[in-house]
């Protein structure tokens, strides 16, 4: 008997996607904004602080809407990597 049933494994993957994907995406967006926005450092800091809940909530809902749990985790991480790369190039 497997340690986890398929349903439970999928649920774990979705929870991981919500937590890890949300965190990675939020970090990447903040990094891009900090690299890219041509304002004083404090202005950018206080702007990002006000946006923080959005990526987390977006990814959390996404993780439970998308039919495939693999995509639930894969897409946010892929987006986070792409946005971070943009930030690094900016």
């Amino acid at each position: 008997m497997p340690f986890l049933s398929a349903d439970k494994a999928h649920l774990c993957l979705r929870i991981l996607a919500a937590a890890l994907g949300g965190y990675a995406l939020c970090w990447a967006i903040f990094y891009l904004l900090c690299s890219w926005l041509p304002y004083e450092k404090a202005t950018v800091w206080y702007l990002t602080g006000q946006l923080a809940p959005l990526p987390f909530v977006g990814v959390l809902l996404w993780a439970f809407i998308i039919p495939s749990p693999g995509r639930a985790l894969g897409w946010p991480l892929l987006w986070a990597a792409a946005i971070a790369l943009f930030g690094w190039l900016a």
Partner: protein, 487 residues
């Protein structure tokens, strides 16, 4: 229900039930924290409410500081207000670690105030579960879930207008609980979205330091240093005669507005280079930023002043102000208090609904008993724990060593006992715990009469609120949970 609603039903139902174990106590504590100064006053019956003059208070505070902290590098003076009618003084070498004392606002006499965390306990419980940084991570995570639950709730209950006008108290119990959950959720939805979003914004600094690393090499509070002007200078080593603090207070009111000064911070009070910094309160503005002015302590000339702020920092602090509701006066505080409790009631109704449904489908197995125990402990157990905290404040000996800690122990002991009781009694614990909480709340009035040391208008307001809420809890226990044990 649309496809999105169906996809999110599991997250809303299961996630809502599990996260409500923390969210309900967080909402109850947050609602109480709205009245933090009033609760602190009730828990320190040695402090009496009295008419006071801030100018006289500054004089009295200075006289006491000259007695106890003449050699200290820093003095702090908290002026009395209608919500905290006592003088607070502090003295020492480090402004963050001062020795403190409370003075009577009219006579300036030191008060032997019992050790208690007062209303601030609820603020700490609400914001960080008393766990500091790890607690902020946990509360931030449940806040993010709460936002997702609100969005998913709107998608699931998409007939919002119809739900808002639907309450069928005489329908079957499950339908009635669903109506309560929907009606309260819809009515408080704007408040819940605002309070949860701003709460997560406040905590984001702790759990999402990406901008701090990208902009300030990970140095915390560097952002504050950039927007908050500080006016300081080193001591000269030569003696200087400090102008009376009442004169500095009058000068500060001319700069920042009459009756607006909340605190004075004095650096090097006996030195020629001494400075007196006056902070404005934030009670009349949405953004929680405190304008401040600094004077030369000896000459009284303005040394520096900040009334302009970085606009984005001002907007950020407006979100903080929206959450902590120092603005708007008592009417808005009551609105927040009631809305917060309704938010907790909405989640509690959702928990009851979920548990009833699950019990009907899966029976009363061990897992069901555990889920019910945690659900009951989070709602009625949380209320009992708060009341245990208030009762311990009056029943523990005043001179007990570490009594502030024992009050917190009382809170968690009652909470643990409520969990054990819920595990033992099952569904019947809902009614028993609500009835007991109602009784303890109503009995706050005689408790205060016997242990409060005389009439006090602020404490009487607390007592009256407790009696009314106690009556409501008795009604809930009797009407909503009466006769439905094990159903």
């Amino acid at each position: 229900m649309n496809a999105l609603g169906k996809a999110l039903l599991g997250l809303h139902a299961w996630g809502g039930m599990v996260f409500s174990w923390l969210l309900v106590p967080i909402f109850i504590a947050g609602s109480l924290a709205v009245f933090e100064p009033e609760i602190s006053h009730w828990m320190r019956p040695e402090v009496k409410f009295a008419d006071f003059s801030q100018s006289t208070a500054a004089m009295l505070g200075e006289a006491r500081l000259r007695q106890v902290g003449a050699e200290s590098a820093v003095w702090r003076l908290r002026l009395p207000t209608e919500r905290a009618p006592s003088i607070g003084i502090g003295w020492g070498e480090n402004p963050r670690a001062l020795q403190e004392e409370t003075l009577e606002a009219v006579s300036g006499q030191p008060l032997q105030v019992r050790a208690t965390r007062g209303g601030h306990f609820f603020t700490d419980l609400h914001a960080e579960l008393l766990l500091e940084a790890p607690g902020k991570w946990i509360v931030g995570a449940v806040g993010i879930f709460m936002l997702a639950a609100l969005v998913s709730g709107v998608l699931i209950h998409h007939r919002i207008l119809r739900d808002f006008f639907t309450l069928r108290p005489r329908a079957n119990r499950r339908r009635a609980w669903l109506d309560v959950h929907n009606l309260v959720g819809v009515a408080t939805l704007p408040f819940l979205l605002m309070i949860t979003y701003t709460g997560v914004v406040i905590l984001a600094e702790a759990f999402m330091p990406a901008a701090t690393y990208a902009l300030y090499d990970g140095k915390p509070r560097a952002n504050r240093a950039e927007v908050l002007k500080t006016f300081e200078r080193k001591a000269s080593g030569e003696a200087g005669q400090l102008l009376p603090l009442a004169e500095h207070l009058a000068a500060a009111e001319r700069e920042l507005g009459a009756g607006t000064i909340s605190n004075l911070l004095i650096r090097h009070p006996a030195d020629r280079n001494g400075l007196v910094q006056a902070y404005r309160h934030v009670n009349d503005r949405l953004s929680a930023v405190a304008d401040h002015v600094t004077f030369d302590a000896v000459s009284g000339e303005v040394f520096g002043k900040q009334v302009d702020w970085n606009p984005m920092a001002y907007a950020y602090r407006a979100q903080v102000g929206l959450h902590v509701v120092h603005f708007g006066g008592s009417a808005l505080r009551w609105l927040y208090f009631i809305s917060g409790l309704l938010g907790a009631a909405m989640m509690a109704a959702g928990t009851v609904l979920f548990l009833r449904k699950r019990r009907q489908r899966h029976g009363a197995g061990r897992s069901q008993r555990w889920l019910e125990a945690f659900g009951i402990a989070s709602v009625s157990g949380g209320l009992l724990a708060c009341l245990g905290y208030f009762w311990s404040n009056r029943l523990l000996p005043v001179a007990l060593d570490g009594r502030a800690g024992y009050e917190v122990v009382a809170f968690f002991t009652v909470w643990a006992a409520a969990l054990a009781h819920a595990g033992w009694r099952g569904w019947a614990a809902w009614r028993e715990q609500f009835m007991l909480a109602g009784l303890l709340a109503v009995l706050i009035l005689p408790l205060d009469q016997f242990t409060g040391g005389g009439p006090d208008v602020m404490r009487q307001g607390f007592d009256l609120t407790a009696v009314l809420l106690g009556g409501l809890l008795l009604l809930i226990g009797w009407r909503f949970f009466g006769g439905e044990a094990e159903r």
